[in-house]
């Protein structure tokens, strides 16, 4: 009952916003159009653009490129973050030496790196992947570092009393603990991988959703910009749903604290 009610209300929000958008861009009020179509387009044009993209099939190529870039950024950034996070957590001296530099690089707004990456890696996918990696790496790194450091001392003592060697401790205690922290940041890191890809494309590329939006903007095709945004939003929601499914499988052993009620 309540679930149905909720969905009805959620749909209502979308309907009202789109209707308002449509009305304000189409019908003049007291002789003035409050939202000039030149800047705000209108829902029909945007929908037409989206349909046209899918009908002609051009959108698939761009979605594919963005997906590949985000995926590569996520995988490379995660692997790097896990390895370095593990290394630093087990070697406090190394961590202490690198600490100021890690903080410095992490504090840097990553967008400023985009031109450098374009210069180094060209306009192809790798400059976007590199941008995504710099975003994903730090999230995963900090989480794994934390995960290894914050293993419960009791669990650790128990593992040692159960006769575990240093290698077995790694495999049965540190590793699962670090992974659980990494998975708990899965939504954030996947989101940042997409951000890296799209921003990179926007700043200079030949394909991808960011490229599509940038192209439309270049010719004042506001409908195209909005259409690109909608496709991007839908794309992110699909990915997020997939991540949630993966997460549910990987973290079955975790208590569902603060899980949002559907």
């Amino acid at each position: 009952m309540r679930r149905v009610q909720l969905i009805v209300l959620q749909v209502l929000v979308a309907v009202v916003s789109i209707a308002l958008w449509h009305a304000l861009t189409t019908y003049p009020i007291f002789g003035r159009t409050l939202l000039p179509p030149f800047f705000f387009s209108n829902p029909l044009d945007v929908a037409q653009q989206v349909v046209a993209w899918f009908a002609s099939g051009v959108i698939w190529k761009h979605l594919w490129v963005t997906l590949i870039e985000a995926l590569l950024a996520f995988v490379i950034g995660s692997v790097g973050g896990v390895l370095v996070g593990f290394w630093f957590a087990r070697q406090p001296r190394v961590a202490a030496v690198f600490d100021p530099y890690v903080k410095m690089v992490n504090a840097l707004p990553r967008v400023v790196l985009a031109p450098i990456f374009t210069l180094w890696l060209g306009l192809g996918i790798w400059s976007k992947v590199a941008l995504g990696v710099t975003l994903v790496f730090f999230i995963v790194f900090f989480n794994v570092y934390q995960g290894v450091k914050e293993v419960s001392p009791t669990v650790l003592a128990n593992a040692r009393m159960l006769g575990m060697s240093e290698r077995q401790l790694m495999r049965h205690v540190y590793w699962p603990s670090a992974l659980s922290w990494m998975f708990s940041s899965l939504h954030t890191s996947v989101g940042f991988a997409v951000v890296g890809a799209v921003v990179g494309e926007y700043l200079g590329s030949a394909a991808g959703l960011g490229y599509l939006i940038q192209q439309a903007e270049g010719v004042f095709d506001v409908a195209g910009v909005f259409a690109g945004m909608f496709v991007l939003a839908a794309f992110v929601i699909v990915i997020d749903t997939l991540v949630t499914m993966v997460e549910k499988r990987l973290l079955v052993w975790r208590p569902a604290v603060g899980e949002g009620r559907p």
Partner: protein
């Protein structure tokens, strides 16, 4: 009167399972001073003997247990395990912790089996033995549950199976039933005694609950309030085995001993409170 049951295990000349001799524990304070937590504690546990340590909060009972486990070196004195000086981790001991010590990412069955698997037992055999241990602690059908899906008492049962499956010669227990409610504690106490009766390991059981200590053990050792806590009393429990925890509390001998020990313990508890309140 009930000495017979334990006397067999206490042959003269046989090495003590655990022998703490003049053990002291001191911590260096940040300010430069030294805090003496335990001062020259001497304590012996014979093979097959169930010894309970009782003392006020903060008297260093758990510290003594960690020293016997080899998790922490003493600042003074020596630890001998079956006549051999203990230098590293005590490989002959199983340790049941006060806090949750199960691996949260492993199922109950995997948690119990892990101690065998790390020792090189093939997985299938380890799992089969883990299953039979789960059945022994009354959780036969809970093998695929993760720790967070179990109640506090059930987690303690899994912990008990996890430790006992490795068949340690010595069992160290740090207020293992502390966080449980009164009924569950009694049930767990009886379960422990049943399991212990099967092969009589040496047990060092730390608790602050005097009744629990008398009901379970062969000997009750009393520690004074810290700092510089010492062993100040050592009583033999004259109750017959096998015991039932809830019935043994009705025994006049139980009351007699309880009154006697409590008389001494009370003063220490008050001292302990004064210390913690005063800080």
């Amino acid at each position: 009167m009930a000495e017979g049951a334990t006397a067999t295990a206490r042959n003269n000349g046989q090495a003590m399972a655990v022998a703490l001799t003049g053990v002291g524990v001191a911590f260096r304070l940040a300010g430069g001073g030294v805090y003496t937590a335990v001062e020259r504690a001497t304590l012996n546990v014979a093979d097959g003997e169930f010894v309970a340590i009782v003392g006020p909060t903060g008297c260093g009972k758990s510290t003594l247990l960690n020293i016997a486990a080899g998790l922490m070196p003493p600042s003074a004195g020596g630890v001998d395990i079956f006549g051999t000086s203990l230098a590293a981790l005590n490989r002959q001991a199983g340790y049941l912790f006060q806090a949750d010590a199960l691996f949260p990412w492993k199922t109950a069955l995997e948690n119990v089996a892990i101690g065998l698997e790390t020792a090189g037992t093939p997985q299938a055999e380890a799992r089969a033995r883990a299953q039979s241990w789960l059945t022994r602690v009354g959780l036969g059908s809970f093998g695929d549950r993760y720790p967070h899906m179990l109640s506090g008492g059930q987690r303690k049962r899994v912990g008990l199976a996890q430790v006992l499956i490795r068949d340690p010669k010595i069992l160290l227990m740090d207020e293992p039933f502390g966080p449980l409610d009164a009924q569950t504690r009694q049930i767990m106490g009886n379960l422990l005694l049943d399991l212990w009766n099967a092969d009589r390991k040496a047990v060092l059981f730390v608790t602050h609950d005097l009744e629990e200590a008398i009901a379970l053990s062969d000997r009750v050792v009393i520690m004074s309030a810290g700092p510089a806590a010492r062993v100040i009393g050592d009583w033999r429990v004259p109750l017959a085995r096998p015991r039932d925890i809830s019935e043994v509390r009705l025994d006049p001998a139980f009351h007699e001993l309880h009154r006697e020990i409590w008389h001494m313990l009370k003063a220490e508890v008050i001292k302990g409170y004064a210390q913690t309140e005063g800080v």
